[in-house]
Amino acid sequence: MSNLQITPDTLALRPATAHDYFELLKPRIIFLVVFTGLAGLVAAQGISGVSMNPVLAAISVLAIAVGSGAAGALNMWYDADIDAKMIRTSTRPIPSGAVPREEALALGLILSGASVLLMWMASNLLAAVLLAVSIAYYGWFYTMLLKRRTSQNIVIGGAAGAFPPVIAWAAVTGTTPPDAWLLFAIIFVWTPPHFWALSLVAHKDYERAGVPMLPVVHGAATTRRQILYYTLLLAPLGLVPVATGLGGLLYGLVALGAGAGFVWFAVRLLRSVAGDPDAGDAERKLAMGTFGFSILYLFLLFGALLIEHATGLHFPLVGH
């Protein structure tokens, strides 16, 4: 339990450090975004045959990372009130009193502008516009409109995190072909089971803060069922790149194994009482295990794609 006590005295004793501002950018999300963006960038070059200057490519990926951080700062600025009510988020820079809200807003807006400008300069207008749209989608549409209004918040809002491979593809080729949107679709469908597994553990936090997450509104049993439905949709969807030629043999094997693993976790979760009032430590571990495996799933899929196209191990089973 948090022993957080915010008083004027503690504020004076805890001046903000650079680390606090870095935490505002949600570095763990940035890591995932950079990885999927990088995979999209490398796959785009492999599939289209268009090569991008490596320095400009690195700056484009950096722009995606900074844009993601900007959206994170805007999210923390707007959600400071509910973050303070939840144990999981009460130690974040704003609710802990280290960073004033208006500074988070300023940081978010400045980094948004800088990232879009940098993307435009390093690649093209389409990639910059897509980056701007993704920042607005997360920072405004999801955070300000969806999150506190509907239990489908994470389903619709999941698109925000799905943009990086499309942005990266656009940065390389100046277009967004179906393969790019296929990677978007994989992350989009992956997001609900990923977050709902976590929300089965943290649903009391969300309830306290008044956030209508699925377990809060429709209960844990419905959430466990929905996790399985989305996982059953995700597993075959993860294999579609093999059919289009985007993914090769290695990707296909990884997607098959990882998809089966994710479904196995989802089935175990469905049969458990995770998220219910009588859930114990084993159920909590199972929900967190599913959450952890979901992250591994995405890393495996995009990692396989990255390795195939970066090392010449791309052996498509169908012609592209």
């Binding site: 004793l13 001046p15 650079a18 400009l56 300069m121 390093a122």
Partner: protein
């Protein structure tokens, strides 16, 4: 015995550190813009009408110059 610094001194020290990080971030941004601009110019095609300077033929102005009262 070690003297405990006052909250004001701690605040000023933290502010100084933040200012240094801010300055560093600005320098990095300027360097990135500079590098990007340089690479884009290097990769650009400035041949023909895409050139920086006018290199085509000037229109013949003799007729219009003759009609001019000056």
């Amino acid at each position: 015995m070690t003297e405990v610094p006052s909250p004001e001194i701690l605040r000023l020290a933290a502010q100084k550190r933040r200012n240094l990080w801010l300055a560093l971030a600005l320098v990095v941004f300027v360097v990135l813009v500079g590098v990007t601009t340089t690479l884009r110019i290097q990769d650009a095609d400035f041949s023909g009408e895409n050139g920086f300077y006018f290199s085509g033929k000037m229109p013949d102005m003799t007729e219009s110059a003759a009609e001019s009262p000056e």
